[in-house]
């Protein structure tokens, strides 16, 4: 698993990195989008809600104030009212009209009808009327009323009626009959009913002020200063700072600017929502990232397991371990690669084994060849034969020398591994001739060679070791030895049969020999035969080789089977 080179980038790590980058970038992207959405949307919602709240409250207050205004104007023309003022009768009728009007209103009020002397004549206030003195005309509401008799007067005017009741705003007008002011009709709006409308508003803080920012009523007393004014530093077009919190801010006019409705919606909620959701998202991000890393790790490992296996195997092979087969439990391309890798290893193993054996065989064959070159026994025997042959028959001696020379030349000739059969036979004949001179009548041989077979190419020295074997082992119990060599082409194969009438072998010995023939190790006792057999098999394939049969005391038959190779030289 260790990468030998630290700088090398593993495919697995790259895959993991890729997975992590992809998944986390998706997470980050969606979180950013989400945050942006929340920011924009919630800001928008706060603003929209604030605007809507402002609008609906302005509407509601306007409807009520308009109703009062209209009622005041109507009263001036009311016959019952005018008659009451004239002759002061039918008071209950006037009361009924006033009570009915107020009971229809959502924002109720306390009504007063005050005469020009400052005396309250009609009221539904059952505590002491605040307007019961001449001094009321010196300032405030009644001064305004008398100064502007044609107009409906709106004024902040706070009067505590009893422990629980307070009026905060007055709407009134001088009552003029026949061009003469006969009194003043005033409706003092109840704070509790105005508050109900204001508290119903969805904005966080709602303030109702007059045009000079004097607060009529407010859902939060924090926004009122010591003078009773709404007075906050605006630091932005539509934002206000209050208690370190910023508020979205809308100011709307009511009753042609007589009143102002200010609605404040906390933006803090948005930022709080933002920070909370960002925290949540951060936690989510960390969580998802951890999960992504874990999953990426597992996935990349799993997906590259096959590659890892292959790399490990290749590394082992590089280090010389040719048994590093891989096991891939998958069904995709990696399985194919693995199988091919394994097959390749098998082939390589087979080739390596074959080559190294071939090299060894050739080496041994060469050693044998060298041995035969300098076989002191053979040379000594030959020279001994020559010694007495020269006295007996000079011609024959010369013949022996000639053949001996052929053998020497042939064995010196290292260039050729493979050779035409007839050339190899020439060498064999020379060898046999020398042996013949030595053994004389005790050795006889016959060659039976098909003409076609003579053209065949065969490995050098393929039959000599067998014949040498016959001679070496043939004289232990018998005096004469006959060797028959027949070579022919049969069923597409080149078949050479070497048959002797020597001692032969019993069954056990034959079995032992056959076993030794197939031995692929090099330490066999029957080097000659075994060598021939293996060389044929290594050169031409397992289906070729030696076949030995033997009958005890009757002789041995060795059959060599080789492919027919003509003209071209097979390596």
């Amino acid at each position: 698993m260790k990468s030998r080179d630290k700088n090398k980038v593993l495919y697995r790590d790259e895959l993991k990195k890729l997975l992590i980058i992809y998944s986390t970038s998706f997470i980050v992207a969606s979180i950013i989008l989400m945050a942006a959405f929340i920011q924009i949307y919630s800001n928008r919602v706060v603003r929209m809600n604030n605007n809507k709240a402002s609008e609906s409250t302005v509407n509601e207050i306007s409807i009520e104030l308009d109703a009062y205004k209209e009622a005041i104007l109507k009263f001036e023309d009311n016959k019952v009212f005018q008659e009451y003022i004239k002759v002061k009768n039918n008071e209950s009728e006037v009361y009924r009209i006033l009570y009915d009007f107020i009971n229809e209103r959502k924002v109720k009020s306390v009504f007063y009808f005050v005469d020009t002397k400052g005396e309250t004549l009609l009221t539904n206030n059952f505590v002491e009327s605040p307007y019961n003195s001449k001094n009321i005309f010196l300032s405030g509401l009644f001064k305004q009323l008398s100064n502007k008799p044609e107009e409906v007067v709106y004024l902040i005017n706070k009067v505590q009626i009893d422990l629980t009741k307070r009026t905060v705003y007055s709407i009134g007008k001088s009552i003029i009959i026949n061009g003469e002011i006969v009194g003043y009709l005033i409706f003092d709006i109840l704070e509790s009913d105005l508050s109900k409308i204001i508290y119903k508003n969805n904005a966080d803080i709602v303030v109702l002020t007059d045009q000079y920012n004097n607060v009529v009523t407010s859902s939060n007393t924090l926004v009122i200063d010591e003078l009773g004014k709404f007075n906050l530093t605006r630091y932005n077009d539509d934002q206000i700072l209050l208690n370190d919190n910023s508020y979205f801010y809308v100011k709307a006019k009511v009753e042609d600017g007589q009143l102002q409705l200010i609605t404040l919606s906390e933006l803090e909620i948005v930022s709080e929502l933002m920070s909370k959701s960002l925290l949540f998202m951060a936690i989510l991000f960390v969580l998802f990232t951890v999960i992504a890393v874990v999953i990426a790790d597992i996935l990349s490992k799993k997906k590259t397991e096959a590659i890892q296996n292959l790399i490990t195997a290749i590394g082992k092979v590089q280090n010389g371990n040719l048994e590093a087969y891989v096991k891939i439990g998958r069904t995709d391309e990696f399985k194919f690669i693995g199988e091919q890798f394994n097959k390749m290893l098998v082939d390589v193993n087979r080739l390596v084994a074959k080559n190294s054996e071939l090299i060894d065989r050739n080496r041994i064959s060469e050693i044998k060849q060298l041995e035969s070159q300098f076989n002191p026994h053979f040379i000594f025997n030959t020279l001994e034969t020559l010694k007495y042959m020269m006295h007996l028959d000079a011609d024959k001696a010369s013949e022996i020398i000639m053949n001996f020379a052929v053998i020497l030349r042939y064995s010196i000739d290292y260039d050729k591994e493979d050779i035409r059969l007839d050339q190899d036979l020439d060498y064999l004949k020379s060898y046999l001739l020398i042996q013949k001179y030595r053994y004389n009548k005790r050795l006889s041989y016959t060659f039976e060679i098909e003409e076609e077979a003579k053209e065949c190419i065969v490995p050098k020295l393929i039959m000599q070791p067998i014949i040498e074997n016959c001679i070496n082992h043939g004289y232990k119990k018998k005096d004469a030895l006959h060797i028959e060599l027949s070579i022919k082409i049969s069923q597409g194969e080149l078949v050479a049969i070497i048959q002797d009438n020597g001692d032969g072998m019993d069954r056990d010995k034959l079995g032992e020999l056959k076993l030794a023939l197939e031995d692929t190790t090099l330490g066999s006792g029957h080097i000659g035969l075994n060598n021939v057999n293996r060389r044929i098999k290594l050169t031409y394939g397992e289906q070729y080789g030696l076949d030995i049969s033997s009958v005890n005391n009757k002789g041995t038959k060795v059959m060599i089977r080789m492919p027919v190779v003509g003209g071209d030289i097979i390596v």
Binding site: N90, S92, Y95, R96, Y99, N124, F126, V286, V290, V294
Partner: protein
Amino acid sequence: MKKVKWTGIIFFVVLLMGCSSENENASRDVLVIYSPHTLEFIDPIISEFENETNITVEIITGGTGELLDRIENEMKDPLGDVLWGGSLSTLESKKTLFDKYIAEANEVSIYKNKDGYITRFTLVPSVIMVNDQLIGDIKIEGYEDLLNEQLKGRIAFADPMKSSSSYEQLINQLWDFRVDSMEDGWGYVEKLLVNMDGILLDSSKDVYNGVVSGEFFVGLTFEDAAAKFVRNGAPVSIVYPKEGTIIRPDGVSVIKGTKHKEYAQQFIEFVTSYETQVFIVNELNGRSIRNDVEPVSGLQSLATIYTVEDDQQWSSDNKVVILDRFTSLFKELYEK
């Protein structure tokens, strides 16, 4: 890998902790009182009780009928401990909802706790409340005057199904106009319903508030509610029907199965004590149930009021029948 796992677990734990909410399960050790009285009446008495006994009180207000329904529904596991208020005839018809208790004050009580369930608390005359500013020259002296055409739709009357004071008004009317049989009384009630023009209020509170705010010229209610406004200077006056006024005690009872029986009994002793009754007479315009408490000048003395005595047993026993007849009469007139 281990570190990664642990971090993951820690995050989950943090998330879970964020989600879990604190579970408050404070044991309830307060006396829960159901009452149809006005808050102005309840508040000073409860404050005094709490200060004197160190018992915390929780008040649940509503119409008598509504509260009785509630007690009945909660019978298996009562949430209330005391029912304080409601006219005798209404309470008597549901006396199985209460525990027996006889207060010490029973000795000096004008009306004794005969049944054993309902301790009589104060005397409550049924009255007509009039808005003086609106009534003008319409004469109101008794029930007969309510049939005046000019009052059409201007009479405040609560549904006697929901308000025990309204039920007392209904009994009063039936009793006053009975000549030969109750049918004569029902004849008056039908005429009154016609003049009410289909307006039947949900609670006695709507009756007296409606008269004060000028929505109605007259209202049929109980004395101390109207007296409070008179005392505060509102332009209203109290008329004791000249046909005869039934003076009915209202009651206070321990709810059956309460977990705070001792507290509840303590409360009944407290509200019928001499001190509390004097306070009610002097400050809250009530009429004491005790014969040892002097009436106050603020209210018309009982001697000058023409009072009538009904058959109280009949009023309690026939409550269901009377209410059914009233309801079907109202439906007959207005739901066609």
